[in-house]
Symmetry: C2
Subunit: 198 residues, 2 copies
């Protein structure tokens, strides 16, 4: 129980290193590119996380390609261990609040390629109900508010609601696509060959 990492970062790091070994600086760049407009990690959280993953044996420093002259040590390249891969699989399997909250949804989505279809669906649906719940809260809170609000506040509310509604529509499309794919798949498994399988 040595490392108590944050879950989000753990998945982000393990997932990135699974694609190929990396050193801290580049790892950060990759992640911040991957997550684009959604999140940005800082070294102050990245390095402690790497340290924890090391002590837990989920990653190791990669050996330099032995023809390198000794006395050089600038880059520290990390790669996954077998345990690390196992842990990553575990993280990719669980769908729960920690996979559809604001901070973590982006990461989980970014690694959907490695996630089972059923889990993908549950995460998307979880995210959707999370957003709908939030809209509901805001709407009832608004309704309970006695004094009417000024136009700027109202505009802020309107824009916020509209943004979230837009994200819900986006999720709906994704969910439909996933369902359609699942249907295709089960059809083709029954031997019906739906043209060309991806």
């Amino acid at each position: 129980m040595t490392g108590s990492r944050s879950g989000v970062l753990e998945l982000a790091v393990l997932g990135s290193l699974h694609e190929n070994p990396l050193h801290g600086y580049e790892l950060r760049k990759r992640l911040n590119t991957l997550l684009g407009m959604f999140r940005a990690f800082s070294y102050g959280s990245l390095y402690p996380c790497l340290k924890g993953l090391l002590t837990d044996g989920l990653i190791v420093e990669e050996e330099p390609p032995d023809d390198v002259v000794l006395g050089r040590r600038s880059k520290i390249v990390y790669k996954l261990t077998a345990e690390g891969k196992e842990r990553l699989q575990e993280l990719l399997t669980q769908a729960g609040p920690s996979s559809w909250e604001d901070e973590s949804f982006g990461i989980h989505f970014a690694f959907f390629r490695h996630t089972e279809a059923e889990v993908r669906l549950r995460i998307l649906e979880g995210r959707r109900s999370r957003l709908e719940e939030r809209m509901e809260n805001v709407r009832t809170a608004l309704a309970r508010t006695r004094e009417r609000l000024d136009s700027y506040t109202l505009e802020l509310q309107r824009h916020g609601l509209e943004s979230v509604e837009r994200e819900v529509r986006w999720l709906n499309e994704l969910i439909n696509t996933e369902r359609a794919q699942a249907a295709d798949k089960s059809q083709s498994e029954r031997g019906e060959r739906p043209d060309s399988g991806e």
Copy 2:
């Protein structure tokens, strides 16, 4: 130099208490309603902030309406002092990175009613260039990326960019409205009476 509050919270609290005195619990509810989908404050940050504002003399505990039986003390109602109002004005006057970053823009916007037109415009424009800069970074980072990304990552990027573009369009509309109002005003100040002055 007693209090070193976070700026965002300070504005949020002072601004809310300016409308009417409140106690902590309700203050939090108000703020989280006001900011709707954008932010949520926790007690762990709110109470320390109130404490700091107290010691700096920007707020005081309101006297109970003296017919109340003594020995009662459950609610602690805070209200602004003269210094607090001054400080609030100061916060509402400054337009800078701390007013258009993600965490703080919503609060500043929510109190635009109390903000001068010129400051409003600078904050909106600052926010817009912040978002454009971020889009630019993502786009160039994407362009530099060698390996092509899987469809989920791509979809995430697309959705992110689209959301930000949408917010930029929203800002453009607001900026145009502000400019038009400023023009109206300067016209009416030159004595041209444009129908009904607000």
